[in-house]
Symmetry: C2
Subunit: 311 residues, 2 copies
């Protein structure tokens, strides 16, 4: 019964100073941090499209991923996560047990990032599992990282390594929340986006929004070991996997050159104990350009995942 | 293509003073109204469960309903709507046209209530239509109407009339936003809930949260003409339909007696140009009691829609 599930959920959740009215009413009432903007992102994941429930993808992992992709969006805005809401359509048979497992995955990640779970909507139906997450964060006025602020001369910096996420990382998403906050506190960032659909595709989106051209130095793209593994299996190149696989959920940043170099030099100290790489430069123009180690340039067609419709 | 849809959407939406970063980035950035709390509600509607797409339920009506149920939740908190986010899982074939129609339904209702559409998530899949709405409102600190504040001696006041919503009103939901704001500005309200699942069930929820008993004077329950029509068809009573059908999306309020009487006396002047009725009283105890015109009392089992799971 829905009421049992909500009672179970309500009993689990700790009180939180940010909530004037917690889960269980018609809506939650949040105390927004004084003098800050409210950042909101919504993501929907569908069984069969975004995940397939099976032994290596248990419902707890789905709950983790659902919140993680939304926290990654907040990270890409340089925002601090505050609260989250989870709406689910659960299969009628076995739905309650499934809902509890999903909630445990959500809850563990929320606790790790001091996010209060403030509400949601629990439904049963005869369809596959659907989960929609709303994450709410805060940021100082004017400080949000937009995707349209890249300027010619900026360097393109990325966190982590890319490609092959389908081998498992696409579920165990690590949202770069702490990294983003540490960077925002110390370095100027002109533009940011998270890599959800593909490094080249998401960078192309940033360039299109900014009215600039992105030059990627192919030799400098950090390639994940999973990209090498996938390439070995399918006969493609690891670089192609890095450029187009997506679901890496790393940050792509456009920064003034001196700031970019200082950031990369700061790598190693927590929370920046992860690879930080300059992979290219922003220039006047449009689209993407690939530059080889020998300095040869050619247009680069962005590749990645597009949620396409039939006609 | 998703990108075409987002471009279409972005071009339609007017600039809004409340948005520092509008739709089209990783997240939206809102300027929260100074000195107010943030109110958040999330609702998910699924094809086949909450609606069936057909001639008398076009996608535009689904878009309307999706936002309307969330605005009704904000109204039940006494909150002013500010922004909304819509996530959809669209069937792959014909999904884009469907998405545009849904958006038009959302957009019209949003404009009517000065709600800015600030973002969402558009997906295609092989399943039925799923739509999840996040509505964000604001309210003065401590002023939100909770469901746990009813006190013995309060009168129970409802807007509108109940029952038979399945004949069409369950789609053409009129969220009581203006009414709630007008009431909140002029009258003390101890507790509130909107009637989504059934008058008796939602009142029972308020009583359970408040630790009180609700006495409903059956002769005073405002019965909708649709309840009479449904009763004529199925041989039940119109009163039973009024008490248990749900999806009326009217407000149920617990108010001090003098305030309740003053509110009912104020009916007729916009935005309070709708029926306002005292249907009972809050007493010590628990659960619901039905009182006949002759003053005979008996326990009333709450009835309404519960999103139940199989075992």
């Amino acid at each position: 019964m829905e009421t049992d599930f909500v009672a179970w959920l309500t009993a689990r959740l700790p009180a939180d100073r940010r909530l004037e009215v917690p889960l269980g009413d018609d809506a939650a009432v949040l105390r927004p941090p004084a003098g800050r903007r409210t950042v909101v992102t919504v993501d929907m994941l569908m069984e069969g499209t975004d995940f397939i429930l099976r032994a290596d993808c248990p419902p707890r992992a789905v709950g983790h991923k659902a919140l993680a992709v939304s926290l990654s969006d907040l990270a890409a805005m340089g925002a601090r996560p505050e609260a989250a809401f989870v709406a689910v359509a659960l299969p009628r048979h076995g739905g309650e047990a499934l809902g509890r497992e999903i909630e445990l995955g959500v809850e563990t990640l929320a606790a790790a990032h001091d996010v209060t779970l403030a509400g949601g909507d629990t439904n049963a139906w005869d369809g596959p599992l659907v989960i929609s997450t709303t994450a709410i964060g805060s940021v100082a006025p004017g400080a949000a990282w937009r995707r349209d602020g890249a300027r010619p001369g900026d360097l393109i910096v990325v966190t982590g390594a890319f490609g092959g996420s389908l081998l498992g990382r696409h579920l165990a998403v690590v949202p770069r929340v702490r990294e983003a906050l540490a960077i925002a506190a110390r370095f100027p960032v002109h533009a940011a986006i998270d890599c959800s659909d593909g490094l080249s595709l998401d960078l192309a989106r940033m360039m299109a929004a900014s009215g600039t051209c992105g030059v990627i130095r192919l030799a400098d793209v950090p390639i994940h070991a999973d990209a090498v593994r996938r390439a070995a299996r399918d006969g493609g190149t690891a670089l192609d996997h890095a450029l187009g696989d997506g679901e890496d959920f790393e940050l792509i940043l456009a920064m003034p050159p001196e700031a970019a170099r200082a950031l990369v030099a700061a790598a190693g100290t927590p929370p920046l104990d992860l690879p930080l790489s300059v992979i290219g430069v922003v220039e006047e123009g449009a689209g993407l350009v690939a530059e080889t180690g020998a300095g040869v340039r050619s247009p680069l067609e962005p590749r990645g995942y597009v949620h396409d419709f039939g006609s």
